[in-house]
Symmetry: C3
Amino acid sequence: MDSNIGTAMHALMEELFPICRSLTGSGVRESLEILKRIAPLEIHEVPSGTRCFDWTVPDEWSVREAYVADSSGRKVIDFAENNLHLVGYSEPIEAEMDLEDLQVHLHSIPDQPGAIPYRTSYYDRTWGFCLCQKDRDALVPGTYRVKIDSTLAPGVLNYAELIIPGEQEDEVFLATNICHPSMANNELSGPVTCAFLARHLLEKPCRYTYRIAFVPETIGAIAYLSRNVERMKARTIAGYQVVCTGGPDDFTYLESRQGDTLADRAARHVLTQSGAAHRLLDYTHRASDERQYCSPRIGLPVGSLMRSKYHEYPQYHTSLDDLDFVTAEQLASSYALYCSILDGIEANRTYHTTLDGCEPNLGRRGFYPTLGGQSHKAADTRLYRGIMAYADGDHDLIGIATRHGWSITDAARAAQTLVEAGLIKEAARSTGKEETLRK
Amino acid sequence: MDSNIGTAMHALMEELFPICRSLTGSGVRESLEILKRIAPLEIHEVPSGTRCFDWTVPDEWSVREAYVADSSGRKVIDFAENNLHLVGYSEPIEAEMDLEDLQVHLHSIPDQPGAIPYRTSYYDRTWGFCLCQKDRDALVPGTYRVKIDSTLAPGVLNYAELIIPGEQEDEVFLATNICHPSMANNELSGPVTCAFLARHLLEKPCRYTYRIAFVPETIGAIAYLSRNVERMKARTIAGYQVVCTGGPDDFTYLESRQGDTLADRAARHVLTQSGAAHRLLDYTHRASDERQYCSPRIGLPVGSLMRSKYHEYPQYHTSLDDLDFVTAEQLASSYALYCSILDGIEANRTYHTTLDGCEPNLGRRGFYPTLGGQSHKAADTRLYRGIMAYADGDHDLIGIATRHGWSITDAARAAQTLVEAGLIKEAARSTGKEETLRK
Amino acid sequence: MDSNIGTAMHALMEELFPICRSLTGSGVRESLEILKRIAPLEIHEVPSGTRCFDWTVPDEWSVREAYVADSSGRKVIDFAENNLHLVGYSEPIEAEMDLEDLQVHLHSIPDQPGAIPYRTSYYDRTWGFCLCQKDRDALVPGTYRVKIDSTLAPGVLNYAELIIPGEQEDEVFLATNICHPSMANNELSGPVTCAFLARHLLEKPCRYTYRIAFVPETIGAIAYLSRNVERMKARTIAGYQVVCTGGPDDFTYLESRQGDTLADRAARHVLTQSGAAHRLLDYTHRASDERQYCSPRIGLPVGSLMRSKYHEYPQYHTSLDDLDFVTAEQLASSYALYCSILDGIEANRTYHTTLDGCEPNLGRRGFYPTLGGQSHKAADTRLYRGIMAYADGDHDLIGIATRHGWSITDAARAAQTLVEAGLIKEAARSTGKEETLRK
C-alpha cells in the first residue's frame, strides 16, 4: 500500500471538503478546477433546460448567504458554518416567522442528535434547513428571521471528462460523482480516487482508451450518457462507478447488471487474489449511477468497488461522514485495488497455441527446471504449462489465472514469455469481453 | 387463511367420503354430480375398449353387495360398512370355502393391525377382501360364504372437465383424481381443492384460459390426454396435478420434468414468499399423473404442490387416511397457496422500457418520495426502480420479484403503475414461458 | 473384489520391478514382452530423431554397467543393485575424481535419508548418481573412480499398442506409461492394470473399439499421438490415463479438460455408486499424459482415475515407492473400478420412447407387481418407469441412472427389457458423447 498516495488523497479531500457542491453551481466548477491539478480534466457544460432522455437539466443553483436568526439577531443556523445546513436547491426567502411555522422547514435526525442530515429538493421548489436534533431541541419559541439569498436560474450543469487514448479504441470507463457537499466517504472519496487513478493511467502507455467522467449523480450521468452513449455502447469493455472508497468497512463489489462481464471478472479476480475481506453483491443492490449505465437500453458493463457502501453506515448522508471517517490508508487501499483491476484488464488477453497439438518442449527452450531444486523456475513452468493447456482461443488470462489460483500479473508475465518464444499468439480480439458474451 | 373455505371444503369431503369410487362406475358419476355444485363441471364418457395411447379403457365396474359371512351367517367383512373392504375391480363370486382357501384372497397389514388396506386389481381379473390385521387374526377356522355381487362389463369411464375461457388462449391446466374410494388426503383432498379453485377462478375475469380435469388416475389421465393433447401441447403454459392437499405435513413441491417451467418458477416463488415450511423435490420423485402429463412426447409443464405426499405417511392407502387426517385448516392452506400461485401466473408479464435509456424521472411523476420519511412511497420507489432496471423484454415479473425478494403481487401492482405512466409496455408475448425456454 | 486378480497383478509387478526402464532402451522392450503374456500387445518403434509435433525422439539409451568405487575399489554406488542409482540418460564416463567433484553429480533427499531419489536428464547431456542421504553422508573424502558404461546413440523409442475391435468404430482409449524404472505405484501399477483391463476386454465382445497404448511418458504419448491423432480425434468417445493405481490412498478422479465428457460422467457415476472414498480434481491438477491428450488442438476426452496421486505421497519418485507400497488389494480395487467404468460406457445408450405419449401399460406386459409384496418387481418397475420418463433421445442411461441414484448396470438391464418389449429404441447415435457436447 502506497501510504504517500493515501496521504496525498486525504490532503486533496481536505481542500475540497468545505466547498458547497450541488448538481450545479460554482462549487462544482471550483472543485473540478482543484481536481485538474491531479489530472488534466476537461470541463463541459450542459445548459439548463436541455432534454436528456427522460430528464431535463435543472436551473443552476447559487447561494450567497443562508441563515436563521433568533429575535436577538443571533444566527442559530448558518450555511456559512456548514453547507449541509441548507437543503440543496432551496429557493430564496427572506421572512420572519414563528418557530412553529419554521419547524416544517427544519430537518434533523432524532436518532442521531449530533448529526446534520443531508437533504436536497432538486425537482420540488421549496426551501429548508438541516440541523442537529440537539440544536433543534434548543430552539425557543419566538420569532425567527429566515434568509436564503439563493438564485435558481438558467445556467449550466458542469461535468468533467478525461479521455486517455490507448493503443485500442476499446474503452474502459470510470465514473464518479461531484455533487455532494461537505461529506467525505460519500462523496469526496470517489472523485479523489478517480483523479489519482487518472494520474496512474497517464504514467504509462495504455492498451485501452480510458474514459473518465466526473458528473453530478443521476442527472449528470444521464446528461453525460445522452452525449456519449453510442460511442460508449460500441466501445466499452468494462467500467466502474467509483464511489464510497474511503470508509472503514470491508470491500463490497457490486456486480454489473449482467453479473459476469469483464468488469465483474476482473474485480472478483483481483479481490480474491488480494486476500482482502470483501463481499459480492448482485445488481439488485444497485443504488448509484450504475442504475443509468447498466439500464436496459444502455447496458454498459459497469460494476462498483466500494468500502463503506451508501445506505449502510450510520454516518451516511450526514455531517458525521467527515474527514475522520475516511483515512489515508483506507483511500490508498481502494486506490491500490482499482489499480490492480485496471492493470488486470490491461493484461488480460486470449491466446491460441501456435502448435499443432501437444505441449511444447519447454526443456529445450530453457523454460524447464533442470536437475535439482530450482523452485522459482518450477513455479514458472506451472504457469507456462497452464497457459498452454488453455491456449485455445476461448479462455482469457483472467479465466486461466482464476482457475489455477494465480494472479493475472504472474499469468501475463508468463504469457509474454510464451509469446516471445513463439508458442502462443493473441487471438484476433482478446479483451475478454467475448468470453463473457459467449457464455 | 380463509377458515370458511376450509370448513366448506371439509364439509364437502364428508359428503363425498362414503361413496365407492373406482376407475369407473356410478360412484365416480355420483361424486362428480356433487362437485358440480361448487363449479359447473361437464361430465364426459369414454367407452370401455377405447384405445388411448398404449392403454385400453377397461370395463365398467359395479358393485351391489359384497361380504364374507361365517358359518353362522354373520357378515365378518362387509363392503357396506367400508368400501375399502373390497379389492377394487373384484370380479363376482358366490361360493363357500374354508378359511384356508379364503386367506389367499384376504389383504391386511401386519404392521398396522387397525388399518384396512386399499387394494385394486384393475387389469388382472381376480377378487379379494381387505381388512384389519386384528380382524383377520380373529377369523376362526371353518367354512365361510363369500359373495361379491359385482359386474365387470362394457360401459364407460367418466371424467369431468371445466374450461374457463380467459382473455388469452394460453392455458393453465389443473388436474386431479376421482378414482379413490373412502380415503381423505389421497384422494378426496385433490378434487375438493380443485373444485374450490375453479370457483375462485370463476369469480373474476381471467387472463388465461383454465383447463380443469377431474380424472381417474393413470387411465383417466391418459384417456383425457388422448382427446386433448394437441391443443394442450400448443397452449399450456403451466399446470399442476392437485393431489394430497389435506394432510398435516409440510408442503412439498414436486417439480415438472423440465424443472424450470413457469409452473415451477411460480410455485417456488410463492412458497418462498409465503414463508411456509416446504421442500422441493425433482421429477425423479414423481408418482402421480404428472407421469403422463410430463412424459417424453407429451411434455407439459406440470408440477404438483402437496402436503402429505403419497407413499410417505403411514396412513397412505389405508382406512386411516380418514376425515380426521385432513383438517379444514390444512385444506385451506393448500387452497390459499394454489390461489397465490395462479394469481402469480396471471400477474406475471414481461415488459420493455419505453425509454431510450436511463431511469425515468420518477420525481416529476410523483413516484418518488419528496423530503422526509415517506417510507411507503420509498418501498414503492424500490419496486419501480427494480422493474425499470430489468424491463428489457427478457426478465418476467416473477424473475424480477424473486431476484429482489418481493412478492409477485407487489411487483405486478408497481408494474401496472409504470404501464399507466407509459414507462413500460408489455412484451409481445409475456407469459414467462419463453424465458424458461430460452435458458 | 477379485483377490486373485490383485495377486496376479502384484506377481506380474514383482517380475517387472527390477528391469531398468527409461524413455527408450532394452528395458522397455523386455517389459513389453512380459506384458504380452497378459494381452497381445503389438510393439512399435519410432526412430531417434523423428519429429513429433514440437518434439524430437531422443537417442536410445543403453547401460551396461555404472558404479562409483572408492579408493579401495569397493563399489559404494552400484547401478546393478538398484537402477535408480543412475540418473536416467546419463552419458558415459570413466574417470577418477575427488569426492568434492563427485558431489556435484550426486542426488539425495536430505529429508528422506533412506530414500534413493529418481532423477532423469533426458534433454541435457550430463551424468549423475542418486543415493540415500545417509549413504552419501558416509562417503569419506578421497579419490573415487566413476564408471558409466552407457551408450546414447540413434536407435528407437518403443511403445506397445493393442486395438480391440468392437461392433462400432467409436473408440475408448486407455493409456499408460512404461518408462519408469524400479518404482511400483508410479509406475508399474499403470501398465499392469492396463494389461489386465485389456484381458478383461478380450473376454467378451465389445460394443466399442478399444485403443490401449503403453508409451513412455510425454515423448511417447506425443509420438503416439503424432501417428494416430486424426483417427483418435474422430473416434474417441472417452479415455483414461491409467497411472498410480496401486497406492494406499483414497481414489482421485482427475477430470478431463472439458470436465463433463462421457469419460468424466462415467467415472463420477461409478465412483459415486461404488461408495468408495474419493475426491474429484479438475484439470488444473493435471500432471501426466492427459496434458498431451487433452491439449488444445488434440482435445481428447481423457480423465484419470488414481489411488496415490503423483506428487502427493512422500514415497513418490523414490526407492520407497516399492512393492510393499502397492498391494494386491489396492491394485484389484482400481482394476475393479476401471472395469465398472468401461462396462458402464459399454452399457450407456440413449433411447427414444416408441409410444406416441404417456407411460406404457406395464401391467399387461407383466412388468408391474400385481397384488401384494413383490418388492423385487417393484424395484424393477421403478427402473422401467424412470427410463421411460426420460426416454426422449436427450438423456443417456448414465444421466438417468445418476439422477435417480441407480447403477448404470441396473438401468441397462431394465432398458434391455424395455427394448425387447418394443417400448424404447436406441437413438441414432447414443454414446453419450453428444449429450455432453450439447450442454
